[in-house]
Subunit: 348 residues, 2 copies
Amino acid sequence: MEQQLSGRQNTILKLVVQEYVRTGRAVGSKALTERYQLGVSSATVRNEMGELEYRDYLHHPYTSAGRVPTDHGYRYYVEYLLGDPYLPVSEQMMIRRQFRQVEMQIESWIKLAAAVLADACGNVSLVTPPRSRVERLRHFELISLREQVALLILVTQSGAVHESILHLTEPVEQSTLSALSRQLNTEVRDFRHTQIARAADAAAGLPALVLRQIAEALQSREQQSQSEIHHEGLDRALQQPEFSRGAGAQHLLELLRGGAILSALLPQLELMEDVQIFIGSENRSADLHGFGVVIASYGASDEITGYVGVLGPTRMPYGRSISMVRYLAQVLSDLLRGVYQAGPEAVR
Amino acid sequence: MEQQLSGRQNTILKLVVQEYVRTGRAVGSKALTERYQLGVSSATVRNEMGELEYRDYLHHPYTSAGRVPTDHGYRYYVEYLLGDPYLPVSEQMMIRRQFRQVEMQIESWIKLAAAVLADACGNVSLVTPPRSRVERLRHFELISLREQVALLILVTQSGAVHESILHLTEPVEQSTLSALSRQLNTEVRDFRHTQIARAADAAAGLPALVLRQIAEALQSREQQSQSEIHHEGLDRALQQPEFSRGAGAQHLLELLRGGAILSALLPQLELMEDVQIFIGSENRSADLHGFGVVIASYGASDEITGYVGVLGPTRMPYGRSISMVRYLAQVLSDLLRGVYQAGPEAVR
DNA sequence: GATTAGCACTCACGGGGCAAGAGTGCTAAT
DNA sequence: ATTAGCACTCTTGCCCCGTGAGTGCTAATC
């Protein structure tokens, strides 16, 4: 699709989209000429609108109401009429400041990003924690809780921490556990769950028990990375007229429950630099038709990535969402790179 | 308040509550006599209802509609008409089985409990993780992520795991970090954050940095324990007629956002064995008027406790909620005791 | 004295009708 | 190519009113 409309058509389409996004009601030719100085009469606008409708940029809800953008119209708007929406520097500063004030902890960053994003866009924000497709063991620790129960804590190469409870077949001292973990740590370091499972099969007794649980934890970690998602701003989103009535609200809630949205979204996402936008029926999953998604991946490297995005009705503020999502992805990436990747000062 | 109604009044009040909870619509004398074999005419029921209304057990929404229980009426119902609602053994088995299938991990237990509870009661379930009012350090670990960045993982006496990122002032080897943690661990074991902060002041350089961050983490842990809450079942709850229209839904969502509900709820909770019930205006916080809360504390000891409960409109199934909450509190306590507390086999 | 049948009355609820308002499409004039 | 004018359409909000469920009261009955 190229930019294929006349200057005046561009202006009108742009105004229709903006007005409709703002008010939520179909916008008519008269209202448009009254509110903005277009220099032409409503009849002319009407003719142009007719053309835009014929070309599937606009749509008539019913015979005589105003116009509403089609998915195609939104797409054209996003592509050609939006310009490059970068976030004003003042807002960038505000956001950076908030991140500086929060604890040095990935979870806190995610929560903050979700809160900021939802607040700025008035819709549901989505943030997944940065995860690696392949998890390798970096280090684990065994801490005795009581005679036959120990806490297993493991850290993966990607820096994720996982804890689980280990039931022992017989009482074991903390010193024994420490010695065991010191020894095993050197043996299975950097292993994937499959390799550790194999090592467990080769071992017996306590070491086998421990290794098996580590393998399980690593595996569940890899699987879970496809289903964990944090969202915020449901309250704001449910105020949107699209969701205030029963059916729409229900649809949104189902999408958000248990990470159902991730399985709908993931197949269509590509790992790329910039923000990705899906408008209504552009979404592969039918569950997402009627929704707009603005999403970007972030991360410290190709290995460790997460997503940050906004989910709203098709009628959502794409410009603002894009600039916010883009900037937050950048902030999160910067923070992560500060943690995981050799930065400039480490290059030397 | 004693049981102060006649047998027939008891029967009628009970039926009104049950019918109203079921249908959500005010229940009239005629409908009651038609649906149930009361052995008396609707006029008699009407007279009794009038008496119940005079005594503030029932309420007239408007001049001529059916009756609706007052908060006082619900209270009487819960206190005297409910019997002892224990969960059928078959359901107990079902629930236990689900807990056996899930990972050995406190977070998984909490999520499962919330899901089961919300599903069974058709309302929002609330579960807080088990936390200790006072957190002492049990063990910490330093893991080098890159030259000047390390991951700090600490485990508290109550078994909570906390991770945060530590920025170093100069490059430090993993071996150095390991040695440092081995040494410091013995020094500050079982300390509270205040004591560790003091130790940090006495130290200098890297040890001081590490200790300070540990103190911070412990402190934030103690504070956070008052605000962390997991909830489930929003979708079901929002289908309730009380919440389907704008105002009610908004109110519920605000309550649930950012753990606002905990600050409303905590002041009125007591640490006791059994389920606590708050009906409408019985709630201390005005934000909770119009809501019903059924909640219990669970835990391995007096030190380590969390809450599990149900939040719904005043018109909620108290019987079912009570039995579910009571049983889930028991299950969670059992699981926790299995982890933390010396069990019977350790007594000898 | 408690219960019930009967009756007049009340009030929410839902559907039909109606006027207002916003918008369209077409035509003819500019 | 643009615009003024006009007839027409269709939603929206409102009022009105019939319906039905329910009440309170009274008088008759057990």
